[in-house]
C-alpha cells in the first residue's frame, strides 16, 4: 500500500503551493489519476483527509479525474482505450480489462500508452 506516501507528497505540494500564494485556506484539490497505476483512490483520499486535519487544507474537497491509457498497435491502429472513464474504478477489474485489450484490426495485444500518471492539477484557495 503506497497510498500513504503518495498522499504525503501531494499534501506537501499542496501546502507549499498554498503558502507561496499566501492562501488562508485550501477549498479543493483536483487530481488526475491514471487508470494503470495501482493507486486505490479511496485509500488515497482517506490518507489525504487524515493528513490535512489541522492544516489550512482541512476539509478540502478532492476531485479526481481518471485518465485512461491510449491503445496503440504495431499495425498502426491507434485509439483511446474502449473502457469509458466513468467505468467502475475497482482497481483489479479495470486493470484486467486494459491488460487484455486487443487490436480490432489484427488481434494483437494493444500497447498501452499513458495512464501511469498521478497529477496534482489545480488547487482552489482563499486568499
Amino acid at each position: 500500500m503506497h497510498e500513504y506516501s503518495l498522499a504525503c507528497e501531494i499534501f506537501e505540494t499542496v501546502i507549499a503551493t498554498a503558502d507561496q500564494n499566501k492562501a488562508s485556506a485550501v477549498n479543493s484539490i483536483t487530481l488526475e489519476i491514471g487508470r494503470l497505476t495501482h493507486v486505490n483512490p479511496d485509500q488515497l483520499l482517506f490518507c489525504l483527509d487524515v493528513l490535512s486535519g489541522d492544516s489550512i487544507a482541512e476539509g478540502a474537497k478532492v476531485n479526481v479525474n481518471f485518465v485512461s491509457p491510449c491503445g496503440e498497435c504495431e499495425c498502426g491502429y491507434k485509439r483511446d482505450s474502449g473502457v469509458p472513464d466513468n467505468a467502475c474504478c475497482d482497481d483489479q477489474q479495470s486493470l484486467y480489462e486494459y491488460a487484455l485489450m486487443t487490436c480490432p484490426v489484427c488481434g494483437k495485444l494493444l500497447q498501452l500508452v499513458g495512464g501511469n500518471e498521478l497529477i496534482i492539477q489545480t488547487i482552489d484557495i482563499d486568499i
Binding site: S5, E9, N21, H38, L118, I119, Q121, T122, I125
Partner: protein
C-alpha cells in the same frame, strides 16, 4: 476574501521516474548490469538470486540490494556468499523506489561491480508503479500462490522483461497448473521469455543463469 484557482500541474509519479533515470545513467556509466527481482513473499526470489550468485561470482563481481520491510534477514543470506550486500529497509513501505535504490547504491563501489541484483519487497502490485533504474525487470511467481495469480496481477507481467514460474515441482501438491500460468503470461505479454523453475531441477536453474549471462556477453 478571494477564491483563486492555482495551477499546480505536478506529476507525483514522474519524480520517481526521473530519479530512476539518473540511477540508470549512473549504472550505465559504471557498466553495471542491474536486475530488479519482483515477486510475492515466499515466491523464491532470494533462492534464485543465491543460485545466480553461486554460479556467477567467480567470473563476475556482484552486489545485492536486499529490499524488505525488515531487510537484514535476506541480506545476511547474501553476505554469507561473499558478495557486497546492502539491506534497504523500506520501513512501512510496500516497494522499493528509486530514492531508496539511489541511497543504497551510495554504499556500493559501482566501479567495482558487474552485476547488481535488487531484491524487491514481496508483492506483485506496488513495485509495478516504481521504476528503479534497472536494466531488466524480472517477475517471479510460484505455483503455491495459486494458478490464478497471473491474471489477478496483469500489469506486472505486462511491464516485466522475464517471467519465472517457480516451484513447479510442488504443483500437484498445491493443485496448481504451471502450464495454465505460462499460458496466462503469454496472453498478457506474448513476447516475454518465461522460465519454469524449481530449486530441485538443476537444468531449470541453469536456464535462469544462462538468461542472466545472455546480457553479460
Amino acid at each position: 476574501m478571494l477564491m483563486h484557482v492555482v495551477n499546480v500541474n505536478k506529476d507525483v509519479m514522474k519524480a520517481n521516474n526521473e530519479l530512476a533515470h539518473s540511477n540508470k545513467k549512473l549504472l550505465i556509466k559504471n557498466r553495471v548490469f542491474a536486475m530488479n527481482i519482483m515477486g510475492a513473499i515466499g515466491s523464491g526470489k532470494t533462492t534464485l538470486i543465491e543460485e545466480a550468485i553461486n554460479a556467477l561470482k567467480d567470473r563476475y563481481r556482484i552486489a545485492v540490494i536486499a529490499g524488505d520491510v525488515v531487510a537484514q534477514m535476506d541480506a545476511s543470506r547474501f553476505e554469507k556468499l561473499g558478495v557486497k550486500t546492502v539491506a534497504a529497509n523500506t520501513g512501512r513501505e510496500c516497494h522499493l523506489d528509486a530514492k531508496l535504490v539511489e541511497r543504497s547504491m551510495e554504499n556500493i563501489d559501482l566501479e567495482d561491480i558487474d552485476i547488481l541484483f535488487i531484491e524487491n519487497v514481496g508483492n506483485l502490485i506496488c513495485p509495478v508503479d516504481y521504476k528503479l533504474g534497472e536494466n531488466v525487470r524480472v517477475v517471479v511467481v510460484s505455483v503455491s500462490e495459486g494458478d490464478d495469480t497471473v491474471l489477478k496481477h496483469p500489469m506486472i507481467f505486462r511491464t516485466s522483461d522475464l517471467a519465472i514460474v517457480n516451484k513447479v515441482d510442488i504443483s500437484e501438491a498445491v493443485s496448481a497448473d504451471p502450464s495454465k500460468m505460462k499460458a496466462d503470461i503469454e496472453k498478457l505479454n506474448p513476447s516475454i521469455p518465461i522460465l519454469l523453475t524449481s530449486g530441485n531441477d538443476r537444468i531449470s536453474i541453469d536456464r535462469w543463469i544462462e538468461y542472466i549471462e545472455s546480457y553479460l556477453e
